[in-house]
């Protein structure tokens, strides 16, 4: 079993709205996989199908080698889940809820529970109604991380956490990966995904538009070139050069991988004062996908 999660052509509609429209997703065992997309792209629907809470309309979904709908209870012993919007029972304390969720899952490491409670600085004796959003999130995180589940399904787990706790969360996820656990991290915080994940899937309108390691995704795209030159250079009209901006002797442009050699040659001829050439950040990749897609949709004749 190489893949912890395998989804092919998954579809799910709610009434007339198609939440998932042929989604493909593959999460390999032992990796941290970032599942990126804006609100309403279908991330939560995907996770809820994986949890057997929703029934798929069509396509295939396999979780830890089992059917998420049919084998829900047995599979749930092997995974832990953190919802994006944590609702707790107001009359129970955080400590009680952590213990309860652990027992419902079939066991909880009390030493890890203790350590995590201290690391996340949670007061477990407080009633849940007195917790802020961030503290409610911590309750769910501690309950999930203190389990010995082999797969963690995290749906925007850092929403509401302060930057310090977010850093603690990143440390925890790094440790989980070293311990060999698989993590599906749904998020729209791209810096977090970039720092933590081995591989990334970008989802848009219920469909995966990009998947792979960050390096692979960058390889397929343009690099950003920004240079100050000694003399003028002619780059416009050159194949593979996009979004060219020339301000006197300064040029900025995006360059396809294949055209990079040619562009750098011409810059060199003109004489280089300063030069940065870097791959796009995940955020730029992500935004580019969305903007280009929106433009296509907006421009499509209907």
């Amino acid at each position: 079993m190489a893949n912890a999660i395998e989804i092919r052509a998954l579809r799910k509609s709610f009434g007339r709205t198609a939440a998932l429209d042929g989604l493909d997703l593959e999460v390999r065992a032992g990796e941290v996989h970032a599942f990126l997309g804006p609100n309403g792209a279908g991330k939560t629907t995907t996770i809820r199908i994986l949890l057997g809470l929703l029934r798929k309309d069509a396509g295939e979904a396999e979780l830890l080698g089992g059917d998420p709908w049919r084998d829900a209870v047995t599979l749930h012993r092997r995974l832990a889940y953190v919802p994006g919007d944590v609702t707790l029972w107001p009359g129970l304390t955080g400590g009680e809820i952590i213990d309860l969720l652990g027992r419902l899952r079939g066991g909880l490491d009390s030493k890890r529970r203790q350590a995590l409670t201290e690391r996340f600085q949670l007061d477990p004796a407080k009633k849940a109604r007195a917790y802020s959003k961030g503290n409610r999130q911590k309750v769910a995180l501690i309950a999930a991380l203190a389990s010995d589940a082999e797969l963690l399904l995290l749906d925007e787990p850092t929403a509401g956490l302060d930057p310090l706790m977010e850093a603690t969360f990143r440390d925890c996820i790094t440790e989980e990966r070293q311990a060999g656990r698989t993590v599906l991290l749904s998020s729209h915080i791209l810096a977090e995904a970039e720092a933590l994940s081995d591989r990334v899937t970008i989802i848009r309108a219920g469909r995966a538009v990009e998947t792979g390691t960050l390096a692979e995704m960058r390889h397929l795209t343009r690099d950003l070139v920004d240079a100050e030159l000694a003399g003028p250079v002619r780059l416009d009209g050159l194949p593979g050069v996009h979004d060219l901006v020339t301000e006197g002797l300064r040029v900025r442009c995006e360059v396809d991988h294949g055209a990079l050699d040619e562009v750098l040659g011409r810059l060199h001829q003109a004489g280089v004062r300063t030069l940065t050439c870097r791959p796009p950040t995940l955020e730029e990749l992500f935004l580019r996908h969305y903007y280009s897609a929106e433009r296509t949709v907006a421009g499509a004749p209907r």
Binding site: R48, L53, K127
Partner: protein, 543 residues
């Protein structure tokens, strides 16, 4: 510039009240209208029924005499004040209408203050151009509008049943003023507690205390502490003496309580933070006890507080009603129509048996309501997304549902047993044969259990198969069954319709025959409906 031009307006703390009040009325338009209608219709139907049952002054005089002589009935309804139809209506329903108006006010005030605060909605509204006091004022306006509507409608409707207009107006005002008094009390409770549940508990506790104070005062004999009644807002409706020597100045008392409560609430509100109460939130356990284990432990933990409250209420009410059974024959003898009705409602045996059997029918219906509310919690957990983390663990859907179903069935059984024991004790101690009557009444009460469970099973079936309509559907089914069971024969409905109610098939005990077949059928129907609901739950989407 415009902002700086109105520093005074920003400082009033009332900005946005109108918008918030409109929003509250908009959100509650259906429930509030229904509650106002039910309270108004309750009074009007009582007046109309009493007119039919006691058409002659002699009959009403006999009723007032007997009712006034029975301390248990005085505890439940107050003292009859005169023999006119209006006086009898005020005696029979005045306190209870006041109680319902107070409940309406409490639920509205808490809902639009602490519940909204707890859900974070007030925070969102409060961040807009909304004054600090605006949410509380808006909640008070909403509650006042609700009880005010009851008053106005009663003023209009009661004269239609043939009651004098002046007395009707005083009764209607008394009921409305009682609601206003509890609006103020609820406003204070909303500042004291740290959450909506606790705030509601404080306000309901005050209401319960008011009922007991009034009951003890009214039940007290000539040398007893009858002055206690004056301490209870629920008694002031009757103390204003509508349809008798009317004394409208008494209604200054509830208005004063309402005003004082409102003032106190504003003073307290200025001293607390949003989301916190003046009474500190006690810290709980840092780790779960061994009992909080598995879905059943969780369901029990979530429902045990409410069940304890219901059981206490059951014990109290049915002990008093059981005690009132002694001498009931005498009371019913004052109306031939009522005597006929009671014998029809409760079987053909002696009137006392018929009364006790009718009491057990009520216990059964209310236990069914409890069970339906417990099943409703399943849907609330599902839509509130508290079910999601549980179902994401190694807890199957059916086990999760069964955990609450067990509380519903077990809780209904417990409530009925409490009703039986309490009624048996109440009646038995007064007649000197407690042992016999406790056993007899416990059996009689538990005879209602299969019927109550059938209604819970209807709720389960709806939850599994039609989740969106399940809560409304289950309460509608319960409402229909209540109407059929209580009024079906009086309305001369056909046998087919009467047989729809599971309570038509329950044994009428004490006094009636017990047959195994109908009980077994009821159990079979309950099992089939539950199984259908659970099968539906396994198949459908959660959320």
């Amino acid at each position: 510039m415009t902002v700086l031009a109105h520093p005074g307006r920003a400082g009033t703390g009332l900005t946005g009240t109108g918008v918030l009040a409109t929003l509250a009325l908009r959100r509650d338009r259906i429930g509030l209208a229904a509650a106002v209608y039910v309270i108004t219709a309750g009074v009007a139907v009582t007046a109309w029924t009493l007119k039919r049952l006691y058409p002659t002054p002699a009959g009403r005089a006999a009723l007032a005499g007997t009712a006034g002589a029975n301390p248990a009935l005085r505890f439940l309804y107050g003292r009859p004040d005169g023999t006119s139809l209006g006086s009898i209506t005020t005696w029979r329903y005045g306190v209870w209408a006041g109680l319902f108006a107070a409940l309406l006010a409490i639920f509205l005030v808490i809902r639009h203050t602490r519940s909204d605060e707890e859900a974070g909605r007030l925070e969102l509204a409060g961040s807009a151009a909304v004054g600090r006091q605006a949410p509380l004022v808006a909640a008070l306006v909403t509650a006042a509008a609700g009880v005010g509507a009851v008053s106005v409608l009663l003023c209009a409707v009661l004269p239609l049943t043939g009651l004098p207009a002046a007395g009707s107006a005083l009764l209607a005002l008394g009921i409305g003023c009682c609601g206003l008094a509890f609006t103020g009390i609820a406003a204070v409770a909303a500042q004291l507690a740290s959450g909506a549940r606790a705030a509601r508990g404080i306000a309901l506790g005050v209401l319960g205390a008011a009922f007991v104070l009034r009951g003890v005062g009214d039940a007290a004999g000539a040398n007893g502490p009858s002055w206690l009644s004056w301490a209870s807002p629920l008694a002031w409706i009757q103390l204003a003496r509508p349809f008798a020597a009317s004394d409208p100045w008494v209604l200054a008392l509830p208005l004063a309580v309402g005003a004082a409560g409102t003032g106190l609430a504003f003073a307290l509100a200025a001293h607390r933070d949003q989301g916190a109460g003046l009474l500190p939130d006690r810290p709980g356990r840092a780790t779960a006890s061994a009992a909080l284990r598995g879905p059943f432990g969780l369901a029990w933990r979530l429902q045990r507080g409410a069940l304890a409250g219901w059981a206490a209420g059951y014990a109290f009410i049915f002990a008093v009603c059981g005690a009132a059974a002694k001498g009931i024959g005498q009371l019913l003898g004052t109306s031939t129509a009522l005597e006929r009705e009671f014998t029809r409602l409760g079987g053909q045996a002696a009137i006392t048996n018929a009364y006790l059997a009718a009491l057990m029918l009520l216990a059964g219906l209310v236990a069914a309501a409890y069970a339906v509310s417990v099943i409703g919690r399943l849907r609330a957990e599902e839509t509130g997304e508290a079910a999601e983390p549980v179902l994401a663990t190694a807890t199957g859907r059916v086990r999760w549902a069964l955990s609450h179903i067990a509380v519903a069935a077990g809780g209904a059984a417990l409530l009925l047993a409490v009703a039986g024991v309490a009624a048996g004790l109440g009646y038995g101690l007064r007649t000197g044969s407690a042992g016999t009557w406790v056993a007899r009444m416990t059996g009689a009460a538990l005879g209602q259990l299969p019927s109550a469970v059938v209604l819970a099973a209807v709720a389960i079936a709806l939850f599994g198969l039609l989740p969106r309509a399940s809560v409304g559907g289950a309460w509608t089914a319960l409402g229909l069954v209540v109407v059929i069971s209580l009024f079906g024969q009086a309305l001369q409905l056909s046998h087919w319709i009467l047989d729809v109610s599971p309570f038509s098939h329950a044994p009428r005990l004490p006094g009636g025959p017990v047959q195994a077949a109908p009980l077994l059928w009821l159990c079979a129907v309950a099992l089939a409906l539950s199984a259908a609901g659970l099968a539906g739950l396994r198949r459908r989407d959660i959320g």
